[in-house]
Amino acid sequence: MAKYLLLKHYRGAPAAVNDVPMDRWSPEEITAHMGYMNDFAARLEKTGEFVEGQALAPEGAWVRYDGEGRPPVTDGPFAETKDLIAGWMIIDVDSYERAVELAGELSAAPGAGGRPIHEWLEVRPFLTAPPTITE
């Protein structure tokens, strides 16, 4: 088994096929979208492939050390151009192929007009503990 992070982006990823901002969807469409993702997570829990999922607020700040005795510097909310992570799901699956298959399914969540949004999801393998045998 190997763990993968499925990363959802607000920005920074290539545009979705059905690319309508969420605030222009109908409330029912938003409910359907959320329901789809919850069902997806619940199904993975049943197959023993679910590890974790979280959503992130779009507001964030860059923070940096600014020298001894001084408070950290923040640049305030993200500037328009910066990448933005909307949330993630961690899965634990038998193969890379299965991870891609599941990411494809998650990307089919319904959006505007009830049609799949076809958003791009980033799939990243976790670095694991070293195996007992390497030599």
């Binding site: 197959t47 023993g48 634990d92 670095l127 503990a129 007992t132």
Partner: protein
């Protein structure tokens, strides 16, 4: 109450119920009920034959829940009264449990989880922690596995190779958290080896012992990897090495060579050398040839063979052997970097180490390769 004793008895009791025809999931529930009963009754009234007691109570629990008149039967049995020990089994039931848990219809992940639960007697929480997944996820994985094998009847043992593969997977998972999976795999393989007379079972046990013997020397205090050539051989566990070599020699003497015996032979040659420089590389190359034959020329084996050739006949020969292999193989770039370094081409080696670090599957390996690249770059800059 002796928890270790209970844990060691559980798989055997479970196996008896399964062999008597109990459905796997129901059998496990019944054994859990019997354990609860044991915790209640034993402190005041310890049984003469704990295993027999557990088997009898578990079997009654199983009958209780499967028969419609469960409540009536429960009144009939007075559990405070020590039941007669069950009949001594003529066949080894635990062995059947190994084969059931490694059934080919299960995915490797399910087979591993079920083996640790049913044969190893670990709790779902312990298994979940070892694999870093939520307990609920592991519980689902195990219950799905139980459903998958629930219809399987066990009149004859299955394929030994499948069981060995599952145990090897557990061993390779290494160490994470409370449960030491490598030690657990050794414990289970020891028990299997005591029950089944097969050179490959012995080969796997020898392989595990020989690798386990070097564990303390494989990582530095800060968790970084120490390559074989740089390991402090004084920290190798000589008792485990002696045991592994002994088991291996007995297995090899039977002249039924298999993959695990060949791998163990290579590990034994490493363990035998007092210093890295005294390693018998020509013989290791021969064992890799043998291993390649046994594994239908597995690319991973041929990659390892290229390393051995590089040591036996010089880095140029190693690079020539490597050139015949697909460059996309895991660790191919790391091996190429090492051989170029040995050959004195530090610029190429540094570049390849950095590239290999980028593709490393775990943190310890990535750090190790990055450090090597950095060291070569620093040396060239001077």
């Amino acid at each position: 109450m002796d928890e270790t004793l209970l844990r060691s008895l559980t798989p055997g009791v479970l196996a008896v119920l399964v062999r008597r025809g109990a459905d796997f999931a129901a059998a496990e529930d019944a054994v859990q009920d019997a354990l609860v009963e044991a915790l209640r009754v034993w402190p005041a009234d310890p049984p003469r034959d704990p295993r027999g007691w557990l088997t009898t109570v578990a079997w009654r629990k199983f009958l209780d829940t499967t028969r419609a008149a469960a409540s009536r039967r429960r009144r009939e049995y007075r559990v405070e009264e020590e039941p007669a020990p069950g009949p001594a089994p003529a066949v080894d039931d635990t062995l059947q449990l190994y084969f059931l848990c490694a059934h080919p219809s299960l995915t490797p992940a399910s087979a591993v989880a079920l083996t640790l639960r049913a044969v190893g007697g670990l709790t779902t929480r312990q298994i979940a922690a070892a694999y870093l997944v939520p307990e609920a996820t592991m519980a689902q994985r195990i219950s799905r596995a139980k459903r998958t094998v629930s219809g399987v009847r066990f009149d004859r043992p299955g394929e030994v190779a499948t069981v060995l593969r599952v145990l090897y997977l557990v061993f390779n998972e290494g160490y994470s958290g409370d449960v030491d999976l490598a030690a657990e795999a050794i414990r289970l393989t020891r028990r299997l080896a005591a029950r089944i007379d097969h050179p490959e079972v012995a080969g796997l046990l020898a392989l595990m012992l020989l690798h386990h013997a070097r564990r303390a020397a494989r990582t530095a205090a800060d968790g970084s990897l120490v390559p074989l050539t740089e390991q402090d051989r004084g920290r190798w566990d000589t008792t485990l090495i002696a045991e592994g070599v002994g088991i291996l020699q007995a297995a090899l003497a039977r002249d039924r060579l298999g993959e695990f015996q060949a791998q163990a032979a290579i590990a034994a040659l490493h363990a035998d050398a007092p210093t890295a420089g005294e390693t018998d590389w020509p013989q290791i190359v021969e064992w890799y040839d043998e291993l390649a034959r046994l594994t239908d020329d597995s690319p991973v084996v041929r990659l390892n063979r290229a390393v051995a050739v590089g040591e036996a006949d010089g880095p140029r020969a190693g690079l020539a052997a490597l050139a015949a292999l697909d460059a996309s193989l895991p660790r191919h770039t790391a091996v190429a970097a090492y051989l170029h370094e040995r050959d004195g081409d530090l610029a190429t080696a540094a570049r390849l180490y950095a590239e290999a670090a980028h593709r490393a599957p775990n943190l310890a390996e990535r750090d190790h390769l990055t450090r090597r690249a950095a060291r070569l770059n620093a040396r060239r800059d001077r």
